[in-house]
Amino acid sequence: MGTGFVIGVLGVLILSHAAYSTIQYRALLKITEEEFSGPPINVIYLFPMEFFVVLELIFGLILCVWAALTVPGKFLSILPDSDENRVVALSDNMDFMMFNHRGRAFPSEINMKLKSL
């Protein structure tokens, strides 16, 4: 949980840096009065940093995907017969629980397996 959170913050920081680089790039384009077609990937000859922005975006996305999958918590098993779902203690209101009802007339799976033998 701790490291996932740090990775998420790192991803957001990288994305913010990419946003700042794009803002600077747009200011540069305004000076040279060209049109904006995308983040600096087609200006590779100008600065190697411009191509870096797209890489930053993709890398930040990967980090954020990793954080989104690890930070919210683990998946818990929903099967009643898995090892971590064992009922190890009955609840306290045993006075209100009765077991002498009609449910014992239903054939349970254990009885069916015994009968099929």
């Binding site: 996305l61 999958l69 919210p72 929903i78 239903f106 054939p107 069916m112």
Partner: protein
């Protein structure tokens, strides 16, 4: 007793069907749904932020949103270890649930970051 056995045998199928009703731990099921919801919401926000920085407009942005949601679905399936029957009761939960729920957040952060980066 023979009649009772026959009705028991024919009842076997219906009671097996009854026993096959989802008897699962509802609290853990809720926890898993909450994990999916958080993951999708966070990815919608981050996807919106990236779409604004990248300068996507109109259709490309929505295509990017569905791409982000598909990546999130694959990631969640991988997180569940590809055996989702022990964590969810159907495939639709992990693939389709909450697919459009993050769309509003995506559009909000998309316009927000687009304004910050490209207009102001």
């Amino acid at each position: 007793m023979a009649g009772h056995d026959d009705s028991g045998a024919s009842e076997k199928k219906s009671s097996e069907a009854i026993n096959d009703l989802p008897t699962f731990n509802a609290e853990n099921m809720q926890n898993n749904m909450r994990v999916i919801y958080y993951s999708r919401t966070f990815m919608s926000i981050i996807g919106g932020f990236i779409a604004g920085i990248w300068g996507f407009t109109s259709l490309m942005g929505f295509i990017f949103y569905f791409l982000i949601m598909a990546i999130t679905s694959v990631g969640l399936t991988a997180k569940a270890g590809f055996t989702i029957h022990s964590y969810f009761d159907s495939w639709n939960r992990i693939i389709l649930d909450g697919f459009l729920g993050g769309l509003m957040s995506f559009v909000l952060f998309w316009t927000f970051s687009y304004d910050i980066v490209h207009i102001f």
